[in-house]
């Protein structure tokens, strides 16, 4: 029997599949359809300290092999989440990753304190990468100093595993992964969405009410894989990779590039029952290759030079 379990800091996951934040509500919406305890983890929708209404519709638009979203982090706030959603997630046996967002460093720390006091949380994911809000989010994740400040402030107030979610909208993602590691992060997750835009040429208006949105889906996958590869070469802490995963092969691609676990987002919109299919695909791969533990694949990319006969003559 193949072993699919992986470890992120002190957090052990039964398999590497985590429902991506912003793509799975608070998890409870899916609880009747999907056995939440069969997922490696559930990353819930990003929470600020207070409730937020988010952006007016239209909030998504489909693009080639992908979609743009600008939801604007509509949410019920950290305290209501702990009171109203967390008990059911716990009862259902979900490993809960709480994604948090702040307009200030202090807000991140305040939410982390609230979560640290709560029972049943597996890890905190720091959203320093949301492209769709005017204050907070990517504002921190686009500066090395901001990245460091948020992580160290949260690190000081909680013993829970802390995992900043990095933005791809920077020149060198690996430098941000290094900053995260130095600030005391237990892991990093990447990538959040790519800042993007779509225009209705008939009306000459942006298709999203927020004008700009974040691109996700299979369209971004090769860039995300490249960024995971770069970060894996730069840091020692685990990486949770994501970006357009639709199949078990896509999961494997991220893991071989260096991801210890992955998050699946947009694919869950297309197929909410995708989880068992992905797990079956992972098991079949391990069987086919005679590998007993999926974790052995992490960062197993072959970069050895090929035999001289295949080398370019130049």
């Amino acid at each position: 029997m193949s072993n699919l379990s992986v470890t992120i800091g002190s957090l052990r996951l039964s398999n590497p599949l985590i429902a991506a934040s912003g793509c799975f509500g608070y998890g409870v919406e899916y609880a009747d359809l999907v056995s939440l305890d069969t997922l490696g983890g559930v990353a819930v929708k990003g929470l600020f300290l207070e409730e937020r209404e988010g952006h007016p519709p239209q909030r998504i638009v489909e693009t080639p092999s992908g979609m743009l979203n600008a939801i604007g982090l509509q949410g019920i706030g950290a305290r209501r989440f702990v009171a109203e959603k967390l008990p059911e997630l716990k009862r259902r046996g979900a490993v809960v990753v709480v994604n948090i967002c702040g307009s200030t460093v202090d807000e991140y720390a305040e939410i982390a304190r609230i979560l640290d006091d709560a029972d049943g949380i597996g890890a905190i994911e720091l959203n320093i990468s949301c492209p769709n809000i005017s204050k907070g989010g990517m504002m921190f994740g686009c500066s090395l100093e901001g990245t460091h400040d948020v992580i160290s402030a949260v690190r000081r107030v909680t013993a829970l595993p802390v995992m900043p979610k990095l933005t791809p909208n920077v020149t060198n993602v690996a430098s941000f992964a290094v900053a995260a590691e130095e600030a005391g992060a237990d892991a990093v997750s990447l990538v959040n969405t790519f800042l993007a835009m779509a225009i209705d040429v008939e009306t000459r208006r942006p298709r999203l009410s927020n004008v700009l949105g974040g691109l996700s889906g299979p369209a971004i996958r090769p860039i995300a894989v490249r960024m995971v590869h770069e970060c894996h070469q730069a840091i020692k802490i685990p990486i949770v990779g994501m970006g357009g995963i639709m199949t078990a092969e896509d999961v494997l691609e991220f893991m071989i590039a260096g991801a210890t676990a992955v998050q699946v987002g947009t694919a869950n919109f297309v197929d909410p029952l995708i989880w068992d299919k992905l797990l079956d695909g992972l098991r079949a791969y391990l069987d086919r290759h005679g590998i007993s533990s999926l974790a052995d694949l992490v960062g197993s990319l072959e970069l050895e030079e090929r035999t001289p006969a295949c080398k370019s003559s130049s």
Partner: protein
């Protein structure tokens, strides 16, 4: 509970150059579906288009023995998925997740049901009319289309005992003009003592106009909205509708979970 089925297309009936009806074998979805609910449909497994699209359940299909065998969709060719569905062939498969969302609330025993449909907005009303067949006294359908050849299933509604009030943009059938014309007359002529429940589905300006017109006669309207939707299950927060309860600020409410049927009087139409 919603189920996801790879449903075989039984038939594709072209109604016009733009409209068709696609029947699929999906008894597990159809048995559970109540009037006003929807199904998330994806015709192909590839990535373009990537996301499913929401469709009202149009008809519940039965086999010769009377057992529920599937459902149909009323489709209008507008975008990439609807163009694909317009040309779908029997034997092909459609991924169908449903039923989803809240159903129409039935009218009270002493209430007349008036349905107001514009174009493809007819879709949720056939199952609603069938659910009222035992008590159809006073059930009406106000139905507007662009022209006579874009008004469908009239005999089916008539056979159910529904009184039809038709309008067309070009006057080729029924009253010329908007569906609010005959609706206004009906509202004016109906005694205030008679209780009426209005249901509207169609273009957003039509549903707003119907809601506001009915409100001036002291009557409320349940509207079935069609928001751009990502998942249908409450995961993505893309299909939100601005809703304001009395004395409360406007809130963005997920149409897939709390809709697609809303009290029109609670919707902040300017923000929709």
């Amino acid at each position: 509970m919603p189920v996801d089925v790879d449903a075989v297309v039984i038939s594709n009936t072209k109604l016009s150059d733009f409209y068709n009806v696609v029947a699929v074998a999906a008894p597990d979805v159809a048995r559970q579906a109540r009037p006003g609910q929807f199904v998330m449909v994806k015709p192909d497994k590839d990535y373009d288009p990537l996301l499913r699209r929401p469709f009202s359940v149009f008809e519940i299909l039965r086999d010769p023995a009377g057992r529920v065998s599937g459902f149909s969709l009323l489709n209008k060719r507008i975008g990439v998925t609807t163009r694909r569905l317009y040309d779908v062939s029997p034997g092909e498969r459609l991924q169908c997740l449903g039923p989803l969302g809240q159903a129409f609330e039935s009218p009270a025993a002493d209430q007349q049901a008036w349905m107001v449909a514009g174009g493809v907005g007819l879709a949720p009303f056939l199952t609603l009319a069938e659910s009222l067949v035992e008590r159809l006294a006073g059930t009406r359908l106000f139905y507007g289309g662009r022209s006579a050849d874009e008004l469908f299933y009239l005999e089916t509604f008539e056979a159910l005992g529904v009184k039809l009030e038709l309008t067309t943009d070009d006057g080729s059938r029924g009253h010329p003009g908007l569906v609010t014309g005959p609706l206004q007359r009906a509202l004016d002529e109906t005694d205030k003592g008679i209780s009426v429940r209005l249901y509207a589905c169609g273009p957003t300006p039509m549903m707003q106009a119907v809601t506001e017109l009915a409100a001036t006669h002291g009557r409320s309207t349940d509207v079935s909205l069609e928001q751009v939707m990502g998942c249908g299950l409450g995961g993505c927060y893309s299909c939100v509708v601005p809703v304001a309860e009395p004395g409360q600020p406007t809130r963005f409410v997920r149409s897939c979970l709390q809709g697609p049927v809303f009290d029109g009087g609670r919707i902040d139409w300017d923000q929709l």
